[in-house]
Symmetry: C2
Subunit: 481 residues, 2 copies
């Protein structure tokens, strides 16, 4: 099968994921109250199996599952607003549901958010390798370092580690994972040689003997090489430390901002660091933007849908989410207070960021912020006909250099059905989306790059040098430090 790149022509074909979390009303708190919404059935296995089948029929690249390990208790210094509104609370564990979805599908990928902060790498490497086997190579790992104190307190710490320390630990964590995934077993170590009675050739498995600042892991990895060995690596950081991390490790970068102009500079910077500091092909890093499309056959119909959704959106839930994302408790401000004039730099610049690209408000109070993020969270809501939404997406591609989108829902699963029924035909008409998987039945990575045989990270990715390849004697493959 030819690569997608060779077939693509002048327009780059988009990578499209559904963006979900194992909670109700993920980026649109409160919409579980809408009569058509089923997001509150997230604890049922059929909910996920049906979603996976729906999206695979439509040829989505993957399902990107967000996660948090604690509650959003910054706003009002209380968990109560999140509890009442159901804003990302309760939240179940995302890796658990992937094998059920995998058993019902063949080609769609699964990007799962898991923190490097609270689980031993040996343990997580085993969980991920297991799921990579069970999905036949369709697992991706969205690497996060966690941002909620509420999670840290429950996992044996007083508060979360300092941001840059989290990244220092994450850097070492990734090294341990690369070693376990790639250096411990040779590609061809499992022989199943019935004549000689050799299940695994003992000279093709070795310890990794990692001795670092945070971790000491002798190995070997307890799981044999899985189809991708390293899961597809996804990352979302746009802080300074986050950019360095993404530029080295991420195969896909997930961005959320209300305007392409905001992310264009970040993306350009990450691509430059990737090329200059890490010798990577900057175009090989795919950037995916959060977007919540609201679609109608006419613009009027789409706008009516949005107005209907807004009747159910929870402002308290939105302020709870905003508090967790930014660390800012907007409850300290009065109902009419203009947030672009308060003392706090962080508040002023965050709200200014919203205001600059939002046409409709002269004054920005906490209620304006709540309305702004209560549907679609920190990303844009693009409302209109299929042509209008496709135009909006093309603007993001042109202005921000993104390669695809993580589509959030307002209503589950109706928003995805609207995308499938209305938007995808328009994107296909424009040559922006494929008709079928590049590699049906292939790994997440093969379909992500559109290249049959691309099961492992590209040769210029840091993981490549860790991989102990078939046929190479141990002495000729030193495990990188």
């Amino acid at each position: 099968m030819a690569s997608q790149a060779a077939e693509a022509g002048p327009k780059k074909k988009l990578v499209l994921n559904a963006f979900v979390e194992m909670c109700s009303g993920h980026q649109s708190p409160g919409l579980w109250r809408h009569p058509e919404d089923k997001s509150w059935e997230f604890d049922k296995i059929e909910h996920w199996v049906e979603l996976a089948k729906l999206l695979e029929d439509a040829k989505f690249h993957g399902i990107f599952i967000a996660d948090v390990l604690g509650g959003y208790d910054v706003y009002k210094k209380s968990l109560e607003p999140a509890l009442v509104s159901g804003a990302q609370w309760p939240v179940t564990e995302p890796l658990a549901v992937v094998p059920a979805m995998a058993a019902a599908t063949k080609s769609i990928g699964f990007g799962v958010t898991i923190s490097t902060t609270y689980e031993q790498p040996y343990h997580l490497a085993r969980r991920l390798s297991t799921v990579d086997h069970l999905t036949n190579g369709r697992v991706g790992w969205n690497i996060v370092t966690s941002y909620l104190d509420s999670a840290a307190r429950n996992l044996g710490r007083e508060e979360q580690p300092a941001h840059d320390d989290r990244y220092a630990q994450a850097e070492e964590y990734l090294k341990v994972m690369y070693k376990l995934f790639n250096s411990s077993w040779r590609d061809d170590a499992v022989q199943l040689d019935r004549e000689r009675g050799v299940y695994t050739a003992p000279e093709l498995v070795r310890q990794i003997n990692h001795n670092g600042r945070f971790f000491r892991v002798p190995g070997p990895h307890i799981v044999h090489p899985s189809p991708q060995r390293t899961p597809l690596l996804l990352q979302a950081g746009t802080s300074r430390a986050g950019k360095q991390f993404a530029a080295q490790h991420a195969e896909a970068i997930f961005v959320s901002a209300h305007s392409p102009a905001v992310v264009a500079r970040n993306i350009a910077e990450v691509r430059q660091i990737a090329r200059d500091s890490f010798g990577r092909d900057p175009t090989s890093i795919k950037v995916l933007a959060l977007v919540t499309p609201i679609l109608g056959a006419t613009e009027e119909e789409a706008r009516a849908k949005l107005a209907d959704y807004r009747r159910y959106a929870s402002h308290e839930g939105a302020l709870a989410l905003f508090g967790g994302w930014t660390g800012i408790d907007l409850n300290q401000y009065g109902d009419d207070e203009e947030l672009r004039q308060v003392e706090s730099n962080a508040v002023r610049s965050t709200v200014e960021g919203y205001a600059r690209f939002s046409p409709h408000n002269s004054k920005w109070t906490k209620h304006t912020v709540a309305e702004h993020v209560s549907i679609g969270g920190n990303g844009p809501v693009i409302v209109g006909t299929p042509a209008q939404v496709a135009d909006g997406l093309e603007t993001w591609v042109r202005e921000a250099d993104v390669d695809g989108f993580n589509f959030a829902y307002a209503l589950f699963p109706q928003s995805f059905k609207d995308i499938i029924d209305l938007l995808l035909p328009e994107l296909r008409r424009r040559g922006l989306f494929w008709d079928d998987y590049a590699v049906p039945g292939g790994t997440y990575r093969e379909n992500f790059y559109g290249v049959a045989g691309q099961k492992y990270p590209p040769d210029n990715h840091v993981a490549a040098k860790y991989r102990w390849r078939a046929g190479v004697p141990a002495a000729e493959h030193q495990i990188p430090e």
Copy 2:
């Protein structure tokens, strides 16, 4: 539906589980070489989905999945014998595959082995509650404290903690789990009240504020009450600390020994401690014995099967497993050395235990031990016609007071097919096994006890007092210490 006990008549109906692990040749190392064996396909999702469907059609109570977190490297002080023979190596993570099996079934339960030694309770409580939701209440937790140094070294320790410390930690671990599962949310906390806009009633969720020697967990639990709240609790310890633990916590106790006489005393002791120290109904604790049946239409055919299997069994793999289970490296002894006369007490008494109930050997060398455990591990192999095997099982019920069996396979899945085709009809003829689940579509616990509505541990189980029941004000339910 009436309780099973009421229908049982004079004979108690057996609880039957399949005993497996996510590795090849679980209790019968080397049998992956047999042309009919498929145990080496353990890394494929269809392998497990098909097993679950097969066993549910036959009305097995559950699938009991063993686990280890490291390799068997005591024998010859090396992992090599386990690598070559494939003896429980590699091993993938068991909880991952449960949702895939659950999506294809309705009534069968899943008992999953997970250690209390290496994962934060808040994290594991979340994983287990998630899977209890996704399985609609069909998860069981086989609580282990781990016994392999090779696991400890990879999980941030120099060696495993001392045995009794592991149990002290496990005791506290269970308390944290009970609090998270049962005390943090009231049964009816999730309201989904669309009129009032209340997803979860905030006054019905509270912190647990656990402050102990090993763990500090404020809570609340991040997952709402699942169908069973507490997974069905399984345990396998028969040490002194293990018995105390089992007598308090276990709803099912898993024993493995070559003779009913060996376990009869242990079982009697655990039941007595359960009654005297913990106020439990001793008959409510179900004891399940490891058995590997080898079945034929005639005794001759069954014996020929066993002889055939023995040709493939790996003695090196068996000695590796024996080393991990006992801590004894038999490689230090000569080929002809009589192990009942060596200096080590541990070796003498272990081998004497085998010899006392094994008819066929006058001399016990390391090779005799290897042959002895290379099929069926540490449990009995019962060979013969369905009537002979059923007689053997009845002997265990009569002499050791067991309530059921964990059936290990020699060949996967053929051994289970033999059990289904040959043994179960005989057991049913004798009134020893049900025709259908007591509660089709019910929870693991309801079917385990045979009582519709028994979703939670019985009222005289320690977990019961942790449960915050519907309708009870917070002030009237103090969280037990």
